[in-house]
Every structure is written in structure tokens, then in C-alpha cells.
Symmetry: D2
Subunit: 290 residues, 4 copies
Amino acid sequence: MEVGFIGLGIMGSRMAANLQKSGYQLTVYNRTPGKANDLVAQGAVEVQTAAEAARRGEVVITMLSTPQVVEETALSADGFLDAMQPNSIWIDCSTVNPTFSRQMAMEANRRGIRFLDAPVAGSKVPAERGELTILVGGDEPDVEVCRGIFEAVGQRTIHAGGHGMGSALKMVFNLLLGSSMVAFSEGMVLGEALGLEQARLFDILSNAIVIAPFVFGKRGKIENENYDADFPLQWMQKDLQLASVSAYEQGVPLPAVNVIKEVYAQAIRDGLGEQDFSAIYAYFRRGLKV
Amino acid sequence: MEVGFIGLGIMGSRMAANLQKSGYQLTVYNRTPGKANDLVAQGAVEVQTAAEAARRGEVVITMLSTPQVVEETALSADGFLDAMQPNSIWIDCSTVNPTFSRQMAMEANRRGIRFLDAPVAGSKVPAERGELTILVGGDEPDVEVCRGIFEAVGQRTIHAGGHGMGSALKMVFNLLLGSSMVAFSEGMVLGEALGLEQARLFDILSNAIVIAPFVFGKRGKIENENYDADFPLQWMQKDLQLASVSAYEQGVPLPAVNVIKEVYAQAIRDGLGEQDFSAIYAYFRRGLKV
Amino acid sequence: MEVGFIGLGIMGSRMAANLQKSGYQLTVYNRTPGKANDLVAQGAVEVQTAAEAARRGEVVITMLSTPQVVEETALSADGFLDAMQPNSIWIDCSTVNPTFSRQMAMEANRRGIRFLDAPVAGSKVPAERGELTILVGGDEPDVEVCRGIFEAVGQRTIHAGGHGMGSALKMVFNLLLGSSMVAFSEGMVLGEALGLEQARLFDILSNAIVIAPFVFGKRGKIENENYDADFPLQWMQKDLQLASVSAYEQGVPLPAVNVIKEVYAQAIRDGLGEQDFSAIYAYFRRGLKV
Amino acid sequence: MEVGFIGLGIMGSRMAANLQKSGYQLTVYNRTPGKANDLVAQGAVEVQTAAEAARRGEVVITMLSTPQVVEETALSADGFLDAMQPNSIWIDCSTVNPTFSRQMAMEANRRGIRFLDAPVAGSKVPAERGELTILVGGDEPDVEVCRGIFEAVGQRTIHAGGHGMGSALKMVFNLLLGSSMVAFSEGMVLGEALGLEQARLFDILSNAIVIAPFVFGKRGKIENENYDADFPLQWMQKDLQLASVSAYEQGVPLPAVNVIKEVYAQAIRDGLGEQDFSAIYAYFRRGLKV
């Protein structure tokens, strides 16, 4: 199957490589040149515009940084959407809000193009290993057509519902990650202040069911006090702000998330924005008299 | 081994029954009479004062409602502590704050009595099945002496550290339970507002690692909208208040917990105090336009 | 002086009437017809498009509901901005965010039009009496030219700074109003719970300096439990959300405001959105056991 | 009139001096010696125990640091309460919680002693000038007897209600002071981030009614960035914690205060505890990109 791939950043380049390994024929485009060399060496065709990348594909995948970039790449004067083949499928893997995904679906549909929003859960290493979780919104038949693609880049595909539901689910996931990391940090720091040792607490909590299991994957960073970013703290704050705005639009009060996002904002103010979001634990730990 | 057991409420009566099954000889006391009949039928001796219950035991176990009740039962004019045998062990399974546990340890020690704080994680059903987790603070040799007791009432014993550390760990557990339940509720309700179905979300989250696993044990209550209390919401609010006060004493800021405890307070104000603490989800769900 | 006036809602119609009384010759436009009759009876000319209203004025005033409406009225194909006379002044009295005001200033300037953002503090009655406070952003000479206009509609003009600073100041004012109303409510309700009487507390606080004086203007509403809206609670929540988003853009953490806006959101959920924002006191009072 | 005065700290020593100037004959006691020299030079009698100070007075005044100290000084084996003359009056000016004041009233009453809780609003300078506000709880006739005393130390006496109502009112005052200072700080810092100048904002707000007037008394500290404590930030945090606990006891949710007290806790963690509580503005200002 011919696939156009637009956006070869940290995530996109690894996803494209896995597609290639699974036998997909890629036409690739990245705004900044020089990211496609490895892919080209393995048989991909690099082109100079997003529209060219889109022209040949039965499927076009985008993995871009923000809604603004997606919109410009798709819909500007030389955008790729008008270049797509009739009845082909656009898969947007970028992390955006559900409302935006629905708008893109509408733009695609009225051009006779099918659309899936398909943001991914997982960061650099799972992307490299093809172990992402794909959160998909769109029509079932379209998801079926793309199943091979999703299986090439991920180990699990969740079809959450219609257009925008993939993006909605991603928002819920990140809300839970950000909130749980703060709950964990407050619990740990209180325990430590009361005399419990960090390593002992970690051991104990690892066998309990009182905290989200992903935090145990952060244990190495925490114990080494080395918070190299898998997912930067400032991105988490941005995603919680996004959730706050979506909740406002839906008329849903979220008192805890709105305080938690300000805790991340305080940590950014204090210089932790580019570290992994688990560094929020280090922010809380400052309160500890040692 | 002879055991004095003081406090035959929902938890205490079930724990005492399991001790009896494991061959411990019980002398039991409860402030309100009539709770000991089943135990007596199986061979326990019921007595009229806490002091009498304490007199014969090599170990005395208390399972009482609040620090005030523990203090009165142990230390008042006819309190049991002065009646205990030299070098015997008092195990306090009540949920209290770490400072209080340390005070009781001191009171015991200066009378030549050994002390363990040993609150339990788990509610009615695990108590009945002997599947509690025992969170123990105190000296290792004393824990060893009591290991048979802990194994009779629970499936897991965690020796968290010195006096008070069992109570500290219980506080951390409940902080995590209360915070995670709110994080889950905010995530679910935002997802539902955005169009994701409750059952579908539950299925998806059950296979993810983004939320504390205990919440899936609440799925039945949530789907049936029947929040019979395993652990009443107003107790959760009380425990979060306790954590807030302990954090204040330790000089540790806890912004999220302090907001979350007020959300539980609002739910109590709106009539949900006697329901299970997972009813906080129902409180959030009121924000949903259906 | 010839003035074009666009937007004859509750506020705009009253401001226009005061301009007329002060001798300004008005050309007026409102999207919904029938709002200009009184003004026409006093000599105003009503026209059918915003552009026509703008064509004759040395000054054009807009008093519209949202940034979206301002943008459309000014900049769409038949927008008024292109119809304005060279070097004339556009005064936007609408409540919008500072970034938006700066954009409008740029749009105006590159067409050779001068711009002032001039939102007003005060609601229906002060508008009627010409007792508004005008919060102005823009160049000093332009403010001077318009001083007569501001004095016709208000009793105080604050030149806060360059373009956008009027809107910034309005945002600060509303943040303070919304926060102070909640602080007052929490203080009152705690006092009442402790046994202090409402009327007595009001009397005492009226002579103290511990709370923003505007709350005493709400005493009638509170004592009569009649919260007819001068400024609806849901508008306050909208303005606090706006402040939250602006603070996010500026990288400024606002923990209190972010919780307070959720309290207003909870009050809206519970049915108080169309009442005056001082009804947040009634929301808190539900927590009172009477 | 003979007055026993117990507690000669920053506040107490100044209040005692003003009583002396008004002609009251003082017998004074302070736990730490050497604080009474000036008073003795003006005719006061210094004694070695609180009980002695109490013995001669028709009125006994206490101005102590915490409920614990009050309780010990009054009720311990050599406490002063048993030394007081029948039908004399104990005025407790210490800042304590309402429940504690009611307990002290009961202890006094059953010994045939009358009681007033009378904490003061105002700090060092007003204490020196006799310009405090006295917040009184107790019976009207007792307040009348003591009116001369209150007028000697303050310029305003507020009889808030029965026993404990003085302490309740003091709690409300401090809640409002602490909350308003944070509201002001968030508003200022957002305004400054948006481009408004600090001095200009101060000028503007001074003429508005959107913030508690006491903050303008803090302008000097803020502009000089010199936060010498009139009322230390850590005392404010303590009082907000006290309000939080009282609200919990009364079943009143206070979401804003509970977040605000954590902001003060964060400021203490970051080293601002001994500065004036208005230094919370400096804490917020760290978020400002200058």
C-alpha cells in the first residue's frame, strides 16, 4: 500500500520506519529537510511539498506539533488536502483537541476524503519498538482499512468512537497521567516527611493498587534525580490547560485539574519545564525538611 | 496464644473470628454488648471491661473508631493499659495519626508494654476473608512475635518502620485512594462530556496504566448507580483532613489534596456522605449535560 | 462632533443617550433593529450597516458582546473599518482580551485609523447615570481628543497605558471582583456557621478594611435573597476563564483564581448562572446547617 | 481599677502601657522576666507568678501566643484561674479558636468568674497608639464594665455576640485579610505580566472599590521590597489553617481558603515565613518574566 507520511520528528520518523519495515511504500515530507535520509536509504521517496506526499498515497499520515501546524499544512493555498486522491484516507496522529479533529474531518469529508484522528499513547522508546497505543476516532470501515498500519506502529489499537473521539481519549489519558503524578508526589512527600523512606515507600506502593502503575516506570528517574524528558513537564501543563479549556466549553467543573495545572505552572516558573513531567515530584520534595 | 480483643465493630468482629479460626484463644470486650455472641459460641470469653480483656492476653488488640476512643479506653482511670501483663504487646489496629501512635507507644513503653501500630488496608469483605493488608509500625522482634496474628487476619503484612510508621503508611494509602478517585472522576466526566461512553471508557482504562487499579473494583457501584458504602465518603473526607493537618505540622504544602478534600466536603454537603467514597464520581457527573 | 455608534444593547444604548445629551451628533447602528427609536427621536440618524455608521464619524464607538462579534463587524467584507475616514478614531468599549485589542489596533493603524480600547467598569445603573469608569488603552493625544466623549458617559477616565492596556485593566478589575466575592462568601459563611449573625457581620465588615467595598453594594440582594443580575454569574465565570487563559499565555501561575473559577462553574452547574455573580454567596450558604 | 496583666510580648506590653496611661493600676506578669521594667518605672507591680497577678485584679487580662499557653497558664496546678477573686472578669485577648474560648468561658463560669474573649485587630503600631479594634465575645453587662479598658487600648470595640464570638470574628477577619492579599497579588501580577506598571496599577486600584483597602497600607513594603513583619506570613498561614479546621468541624466547604493556605505554605517553604504576610505578593511576582 502507498502511504504519504508528513512530519518526521521524534515520533513520526520512528513510526515511518516501522511502516517501512512492514512493507509499506512511503512518500515522505518534512518541513525541515534532512530528516528523511534513513527512510530514503530503505526505499522511501522524499518530496518537497506536503501536497506531493499526499498525491500518491491511498493513505496520508500526519504527525505534527500543534493544531495550527496541522491546519496550515492541510488547508493553506498549497495544502495537501486538495491534493489527495478521491476516497483516500487522512490519518492525523497529532495531539490536538477533539473540536479541531471534528473540523478536520468535515474539511476532509466535503472533499470526498475519509478521516481518522489517531493520536498515540507512548513516547520515544515505544515509538521505536512499534509498541504505541493508537487512540482512534472515525468510522469503523476506515479503521479496518488502516488496521495494518496501526499494527505496524503500535501494539494496541483502541477505536474510541466517531470523529474526534481519538483526540478526546488522548485528552483523558493525559489528564489522568498529570493528576496521578501529582497525587503520587503528594502522597510520597507526606510519607517521607512522616519518616517513611523513599525506596521503601516505592516498594510498598508497587505492590498496592492505590496509584496509577505508570509511575513505577518513573522510579529510575526519581531515584537518580535525573529527569531527562520522555514527556516534558511543560507539555503536560499545556495538555492540562487544554483539558481545562475543553471542560469550560463543555460546562464541566474540574476543581482538582485546575489546581494541578497551576502546580505544574509553578514548577515551570521554578525552572523544571524542560524536564520530564515526573520532575513534579522533585518540585514537591522541596517542601521536605531533610 | 491468649489474645485480648477490644472493639467488635464491622472490622473487629471479622478479624476476631479469623483469629479464632486460626486457634487463638480470645477474651473479648465491646463497649456495646451483644456483639460477641458468635465469638462466644466458638469458645471466646466475653468480659465486662477492657481491663479484664487485657489482663489475660500475651497480646491485646484494639480496633476502635477514633484516637479519642483509643485514648480513653487505654488510659482513663479504668483503662486497659495498666492491666496488661509485663512485656506483653499492644497492637492498635485503629486508624489514627502517626503522632498519636507514637504517643501510645511511649505510654505503653514506660509501663513495660510493647507496642505496634497496625492499621489495616481493606474493608468489610477482605476482613471477612482474612485478606486484609496489615500496615505495621514498631520493632522488628515484636512484629515477628505477632506474625501469626497478622497472617490470621490478612494476606500481607507490611512492616513500614518504627512506631507510627504503620499509621503514616495508612495515611499515605488513603491520600492516594481519595486523590485517585477524584482524578478518575474528572477524567471520566470530561471524556463523557466530549462524547465517550462510560462503559467504553471503563473498558479502555482497565487495560491502561494511567489510573489506580482499585477504581475498577468500583465499576459495579458506578454502573448500577448504587453506592452502598464499603468505605463511606465522609470517612474519606476525614482522612484527607487528617492528612492535611499532618502535612501542615510537617511543613509540607499539599495544594491538590487540600482542594480534593473540599470537593468531598461539597459532596457531603450535597447529601453523599454516607455513600461509598466512589460516589464522588456521581457528584462530578452532575456537571454533565446529558 | 460627529460620532458613529455601533451596538445598542443594555450598555450601548445608555451610553449613546448620554453622548446625545452632551451634544454629540450620532449616527447609530444595531444588528437587531428597533433599538434606536429613542435616540432617533432625539435627533440621531439610524443607518442599515455598520459601515454607514462609520463613514461620517470623526469617532466610531463599538459596544459589542464578544471579540468574535467585534472582529466580524469591523473586518468582514462589509466591515466598518475600511469605511472610516482617514485619521479618525475607533473606540472599542467591548470587553475583550488585551491580545485581541492589540490586534485591532494594528488593523486600524495600517488603514490610517487611530484606536483606543476603552472597556467600562460599571453596569446598567451607572451607564444610565453617566457614572461609568472608562479604562483606556492607547496613545495620549488620542485619549485627549476623546476626553469629552469619556466624560459624557462616565465620571472617571483611567488612561492605563498603550493599546490593550484598557482591556488588561478590565481583566484585572474583574479578577479582583470575582475573587473578592468568593473571599467574602467564605468568610461570611464560616462566621455564620460559628454563630455570628449575617446582618451583624455585614455591619461590622462595613466599617472594616478587610474586604473589597463593592460587596456592600450587594447587601440588598443578599439580604433579600433576590439576585437579579447586574452582572450575571456566568459572565464572571467567563471573565475568570479569560484571565486564566491570559495568565497561561503569560506564564503566570494563578492557583487561587483557577480554583475560584471552578467554584463559579459549580454554581452554574447548580443553576445560578443567570443570577447576579453575588449569588456565589448563596451557593456557599448551602453548606450551612441552619 | 486594679488590673492583672499576663503576657508582655510585642502586643501585650504596648496595651499594658496604654492602660497605665489611662490610670489603671497594673499588676503584671510575664513568663520571661525583664519585660516589665518600663511598666514598673511607671508604677506597675511586677509579680513572679500568673496567680499572683490575678489575685488582686478586678479584671485579669491575658495576651498569650497560643491556646496551649493560655490553657496552661490558666488551668495548670499553679494556674491563675483559681486565684481570681469571685465575680471578677477574665479578658482573654489571645488569638484562639472559638471552641477554645467557649471552653475557657465554661471553666471560668464554674469558678464564679466572668469571661470575655477579646482578640484584637491591628498590629504593633496601632497597639502602641491605642488604635486597636477589640473584637469581643461575652455578656453585654461584662462588656460594659470593661468598656474603659477597651477604650484605653483601642479606638473601636465590637461586641460580636456571646462567648467565643470575639474569637470567631477574629478568624473571619484574618481569613479575609489572607484571601484578599492573595487576590490582590494574583490581580497585580497578571496586570504586570500584561504590561501594566506596578505603581500605576496601585494608583488606579487605590481609587477603585475592587480590593480590600488594607492592601494600600502595604504599598510601602511592596514598593521598597522590604517586608519587615507587622504580621508574619507564617502566622497568617497558621490562622488560615485554623479557619480550615474550624470550617471542617462546622461542615462548611471552603475551597478557595484551602488552596490559599497552601500558597502561603509554599511561600514559607521558599523562605518567606518570617516576612510580612504581604510578601505573598513577592512570591507571586517570581512568576513574572521581566
